[in-house]
Symmetry: D2
Subunit: 264 residues, 4 copies
């Protein structure tokens, strides 16, 4: 082959017979027993250990994204487990596949909106004007403003004030948190609807405060939800609901087609 080879390189880790190193830390002596699972997520995303404040904030955000009850993701995971109980990893995988633009992806689109509106958090811009301009642009493009509004949690998403309280305590309450609050208020005014900052909006803003690339924000939700889906699969194994959902759905969905049925 005349194709020139390019190097293959990863800076994540290495191991020899008696050593394992991850992001430059000795796994047995510097990581195990010293870090929690959220810290490990922070290390994966930043390549460095979190400070105590970063640890607290990052763990709170991922914990917040881990468990949302009976979601479409949880139902997909339970349906999959029903057919392949010997492959629970595939059930978690099936549940993760749906964390796209509609649900968890909103963390990402909110962070993107904020960082594109305010590329430099230290620039002393008028945030009120910036919020108005941002909302106006989304409305002109007939796009939903990401990170605000919730079908159930109105007029306030109860997670948001707590996340912002933690952001204040840990030093991550800055211009992005302020901006998303102004955007929510402005969107409410403009639409006449209740559009509270939802949990993914709050997390998107705090991710910006922590300096994360918006492209990785969805990753927080993906890693967190894997934790929650394991819990759903465990419950499904003990007290299943998948078969009942399946039978009810199948019965109702095809009722109008079956011969000799009362078609109400």
């Amino acid at each position: 082959m005349s194709r020139p080879q390019k190097p293959i390189k990863s800076d994540i880790g290495w191991s020899t017979a008696d050593r394992i190193s991850i992001f430059g830390k000795d796994l047995p002596s510097e990581i195990l027993g010293h870090m929690n699972l959220g810290d490990m997520g922070f290390l994966e995303i930043t390549g460095r250990l979190p400070s105590p404040d970063e640890s607290r904030m990052f763990n709170a955000m991922t914990v917040c994204l881990a468990e949302h009850g009976i979601t479409p993701s949880a139902i997909a995971a339970r349906m999959t487990y029903m057919g392949a109980p010997e492959a629970m990893q595939a059930a978690v995988a099936a549940g993760l596949c749906g964390l796209g633009s509609v649900f968890v992806g909103s963390t990402e689109t909110c962070a993107k909106m904020l960082v594109e509106a305010l590329p430099d958090p230290k620039a002393g811009v008028d945030l009120r004007a910036l919020a108005a301009k941002t909302v106006a642009e989304f409305r002109a493009a007939k796009k939903i403003v990401p990170g605000v509004g919730h079908p159930i949690h109105k007029p306030v998403d109860p997670r948001t004030p707590r996340l912002f309280e933690l952001a204040k305590e840990t030093g991550f309450s800055g211009p992005y948190v302020e901006l998303v609050q102004l955007i929510s208020a402005d969107a409410e005014r403009a639409s006449g609807k209740s559009l509270p900052i939802n949990a993914t909006g709050a997390i998107g803003a705090i991710c910006c405060e922590m300096g994360f690339d918006w492209r990785i924000c969805r990753g927080l939700g993906v890693m967190a939800r894997a934790v929650g889906l394991v819990g759903h699969i465990l419950e499904e194994s003990r007290n299943p609901m998948a078969a009942e959902i399946w039978h009810r759905t199948e019965d109702e969905a095809s009722k109008h087609l079956k011969p000799g049925q009362d078609h109400e």
Copy 2:
């Protein structure tokens, strides 16, 4: 339909307009800021908050399973990300799909072996004899003893002594840890090979000490690896290797078929 309906029930959580409850805890006030992501995993698996010792041990085990460098899982995730960068959740899902019997599943098979050998950890049985019997049974069935042996980490897997040290510190070093150590020693004697307890073996034993059902042990690896795979996808987005692996593999794999090639 005459099919009688069965109830659909989940005890994981509930929410109303202003409240969110998970496993009986108020999410904003009792969970956010009070628990780390590993604790959340413990809550999902046991339905209760961990003690400080449980938290430390559980986090150490999941952290240990989160990042294993360039594994087949990581390569699958990177390949998937290359084709669908807009759906990073599907890349993590693809990486998780392979956490089956060969890799992470060994935690589960080791825990199963231990708990089937010693159903009651308080029974004062002769562990030495139990280990010998267990190894003999696996050898007679020509099955690999799970949880021992490693292709690289010889004569000791450096994670194992650290995990057992933490188990001692947190009060989870009991008969199952002793049993897996005796099994490893016995398997080495019987086979004449170096068969150190590997990390999944140590974790399988400690899961038994913590009272987890062996059926959920794979879940620790699945939730943990999702964390690590997000890191691989982030690195792939910045410093990709998937295309190079692909081109090299494709070139070499079909070289013997192509017309006009030197078939070495």
Copy 3:
């Protein structure tokens, strides 16, 4: 590195600037327009083109496995599509993840049972005695006889007589088809229940007649169901049911936990 390299080799295909070859056939001139999608599946599994009889039988089997209505797989795919409509491939993937031991995997376990009972189809053994022995072994091990019994299709699965009719027409009705029929009859006698050969049982037997390795039988279901799941996703995009299933399930599942609810 001192690790010796092993060769990487695939016999599936190759391409150059102006040619593409798959299993030794020129894709443009020998495959496109000459083969249907089922024939392509046959080529993938056997490495050769099917005869007209093989083509007819293989296509009938995969068509039979493609669409089973509102299954757990279809629900998982629809739930996933709801969250990530921009990644329909991930929705199909989620649906496939559950084709394990419980559903489509039964083709595989039935073929395995038949070929282990009768390794040489030309051996002139007493099939009646073999069936009795096989059923007795499964019953002694308290295992379900694979490939027989159906929750709805009683006393006959309407697909089975048609598949066996096609097997006769195409020359694939031999000792394995006879054996599975005897096993079904014997299992019915032994259990006192209606245990007709179901579609996966018929397909497992015909796969044995066609000389397929039982390890690949699940593959017929997996490739076929991908076809059907695309149809479900298309319908979901036009006439969705996922959100309604989700909301009903969530409401009912957490009703017993919510404060101020009537707990019937």
Copy 4:
């Protein structure tokens, strides 16, 4: 609950004890033995049986998308199979997850481009001017023109003339096929590069001719590739390459980090 229930309805099929109906056809008597797997795909997408010409063209397109040799998808599937050989459905799923915007998704983006440029194929518009305008718009937006260009197949993708020949034979060579040809020519002129219509471009155009919604075009690739991935998993089970790719990659990727290594 006060939430009003919405109906759950699917028109795909129904079954009773002795009948199975799919899209209004009796499965045993009207489908099995009468349709091939590609026809089944056509039925899923259109809700009706294909004409002989439609059957020929649809099968050719899906066959063309089924097998592309050692792709990133195939590598992901093989890596997954290595870790979980007991769950081959999850390996196919992992392979499908990457059929996103970069690879198979281009069928969809090409069809979208064509149908947005020419919403009514019967409108007697100047296709030459339309092509020039379309290419100019993509270039102005600094976007890649979808469906043209190939890293290897230059100056002609050998599948394209064959697909267009079949389109002519089956009566699906109309304004969309002409338009994509004019777009390719125009893009070549504008860029000075060789930008032949690739297979996904040809298929995108023919999908438009057949009247398919561009949103479902990716589905042809997804269903087809599932067929090909089963072949890769079968080959991997017999003549594996995943472990060797893994070891080579791991060795090279971390070489620069390991102590005592020659860092070339």
